[in-house]
């Protein structure tokens, strides 16, 4: 689905992503883990077109997508969410979702003035769809609330909801679980699972919560210092020496061993 080849992203002398190569297979929920500063979010930013790559290439379904802008990638079915939830704060949650699908009649100036009927029909369909998504995410009671005023966890759900408004192929989730309470986390987890099985979404998610990863992700890719360190099933990865070392540092690892 997505193939990243020898990707570099340098900020001055700092090599945030330093020759990462990885693949996200179709139909999987691939986890991306690694210690802070491993370059996970930067990798997402480069893949999703928010940052230009220093070198290296990104492919989607065989075609190169390196350097495409976010809105072009959106039309190819590549979506992402942010580590810190983004929303259109002055619009209601429902309007936030209704913003997403593009290619509607209301987008041309001509139709804005002269195609009122068609736009009204589309708006109605969109609205129904947005309400359906809100219900799926169990936040239907927030439909008319300003998105700037709902809780952080609810904003994360809204981010996920945004990806459901269109038929996405692959969704990059940047720490959807961070700062979200347990109940909400389960809701998010269920939603991801259902989207994956029922609608065939491929996910690639950055996550720190190991339970969450163990429950959802297969395979798991580990990054450290801008490179891919290991890849495998979640339980294997958690046993992997190199991974434990990258996370805890050498000294601590030995201490953990000694304690055990």
């Amino acid at each position: 689905m997505i193939r990243v080849e020898n990707l570099h992203k340098h900020f001055g002398g700092f090599h945030a992503v330093d020759g990462a190569s990885l693949e996200v297979a179709e139909g999987t929920i691939t986890g991306l883990i690694g210690p802070n500063g491993a370059g996970k979010t930067t990798l997402f930013n480069v893949i999703a077109g928010n940052l230009p790559a220093t070198s290296g290439r990104v492919f989607m379904e065989g075609g190169e997508i390196t350097g495409l802008s976010p809105h072009e990638l959106f039309h190819k079915g590549l979506l992402r969410t942010f580590q810190i939830a983004h929303e259109f704060s002055s619009m209601s949650c429902r309007e936030n979702l209704m913003m997403v699908p593009s290619g509607q009649s209301g987008e041309t100036l001509w139709n804005t003035w002269f195609g009122r009927k068609r736009i009204a029909d589309e708006e109605r369909a969109l609205r129904a769809k947005a309400d359906e998504v809100l219900e799926f995410l169990t936040i239907e009671h927030l439909a008319d609330h300003k998105a700037g005023q709902v809780s952080g966890g609810q904003k994360k759900l809204l981010e996920l909801g945004r990806t459901m408004m269109v038929d996405a192929k692959i969704v990059f989730l940047d720490e959807v679980g961070a700062g979200v309470n347990r109940t909400l986390l389960n809701t998010i987890g269920d939603a991801i699972k259902r989207l994956n099985t029922e609608r065939g979404y491929t996910f690639c998610m950055i996550e720190h919560d190991m339970d969450f990863i163990g429950r959802l992700c297969d395979p798991v890719i580990v990054m450290a210092e801008g490179k891919v360190l290991a890849e495998g099933a979640a339980d294997q990865i958690m046993q992997n020496e190199a991974v434990i070392e990258a996370y805890l540092g050498r000294g601590l690892k030995n201490k953990v061993k000694a304690d055990a």
Binding site: A48, G49, N50, S69, P70, H71, F74, H75, L79, R80, F82, H86, E87, F88, S89, S90, M91, E95, M99, V100, P101, S102, Q104, S105, G106, E107, T108, L109, T112, I119, E123, R162, V166
Partner: protein, 335 residues
């Protein structure tokens, strides 16, 4: 009776001029605020964009007048307005392609774009003078007054006259229609909503598949329309002289900032705040005071500031607002 005279004098010299000047400033400030909200820089070329729009409209008006076309009692300029808007839209879109796009792609800092817009301002400045000259141009025709001061005096028997200029009525009516359309567009249409979305959170807008170049293009077209309408109304009301539009930049920016840059409601409120402050502070109150306090005979004109200093008023308000409420009266930043 004296009190009535005082009110009429006040209406004639303060309230009516304030309303029409305020509407013109509001339309100008809306253009500035839209650019700030979407493209995220202060467009110093806006005053001269207004001059260009008014010039294009004037040239078209002259041509129509030479053909004998007339809208009497309305000014012919109204007929020429769509052509003026189209010409200005082409100009700003061309400028965007030629100049701003380059800096946008480089993700240049807003302060660089401000300086760039100053460059554009000087070019437009020259262009307008080159085409139409530096002098005053008259292009207003149709009825001058809805009610003239003399008629008003005859009808009411008051000593003070209230002249209602047709351009005042026209300015207010057009401004109300334009503002209503703009708000409907921003809040109710899909394109308007994507403009607001883009202004609110650019990253997210891009991720939602909103094409930034389209949003930018539509913004420029709307701004061209606003600038042309504001410029033409100002020219009809006073007279057209390229230099005055350059000077208008200050009160327009003051209006946009006072209201909260990026906030359309603020731009309108700011326009009226600035206009009324200018008019009341530079008005010689002797006449009104004479009616209200008949026994008081002041030595001077009771004019707080000479009209030569009217721009100082915008500056002073601007500074007070920036000191005490830097975000403007209506919290700015996004549409």
């Amino acid at each position: 009776m004296d009190l009535l005279n005082a009110i009429v004098a006040l209406a004639n010299f303060v309230i009516l001029p304030g309303i029409s000047y305020g509407s013109q400033l509001a339309l100008g400030a809306l253009g500035v605020t839209l650019i700030y909200g979407i493209l995220r820089f202060s467009n110093f070329a806006h005053g001269d964009t207004m001059a260009f729009g008014a010039m294009a409209t004037i040239l078209m008006t002259w041509w129509l007048q030479s053909l004998g076309v007339s809208l009497d009692p309305l000014p012919t300029a109204l007929l020429a307005l769509p052509v003026g808007i189209a010409a200005t839209a082409l100009l700003v879109l061309g400028t965007d392609k030629l100049v701003y796009k380059f800096y946008r792609e480089q993700k240049a800092a807003p302060v660089i774009l401000v300086i760039v817009s100053m460059g554009v301002m000087f070019v437009l400045n020259g262009l307008v003078r080159f085409i139409i000259g530096v002098d005053d141009q008259r292009f207003a025709d149709g009825a001058r007054f809805v009610i003239s001061a003399r008629d008003f005096k005859e009808i009411t028997g008051l000593r003070e006259g209230l002249a209602i200029k047709s351009t005042t009525v026209l300015t207010v009516v057009v401004a109300v229609i334009v503002v209503a359309l703009l708000f409907w567009f921003l809040n109710k249409t899909r394109t308007g909503k994507s403009m607001r979305a883009f202004s609110d959170n650019e990253d997210l807008a891009l991720l939602s598949g909103i094409n930034p170049e389209r949003v930018v293009m539509i913004t420029w077209i709307i701004v061209a329309a606003l600038a042309t309408i504001a410029g033409t109304l100002y020219g009809l009301d006073k007279s057209f002289k390229p230099f005055t539009y350059f000077q208008l930049l200050l009160p327009i920016f003051a209006a946009a900032i006072v209201g909260g840059l990026g906030n359309p409601v603020g731009a309108i409120a700011g326009g009226f705040v600035i206009a009324f402050s200018e008019v009341t502070i530079t008005y010689a109150w002797k006449k009104v005071a004479g009616y209200v306090f008949p026994s008081w005979e002041p030595d001077g004109l009771i004019q707080l500031l000479s009209t030569d200093y009217k721009f100082a008023v915008s500056f002073a308000i601007l500074i007070v607002v920036l000191l005490f409420r830097p975000t403007g009266l209506f919290r700015g930043k996004s549409l």
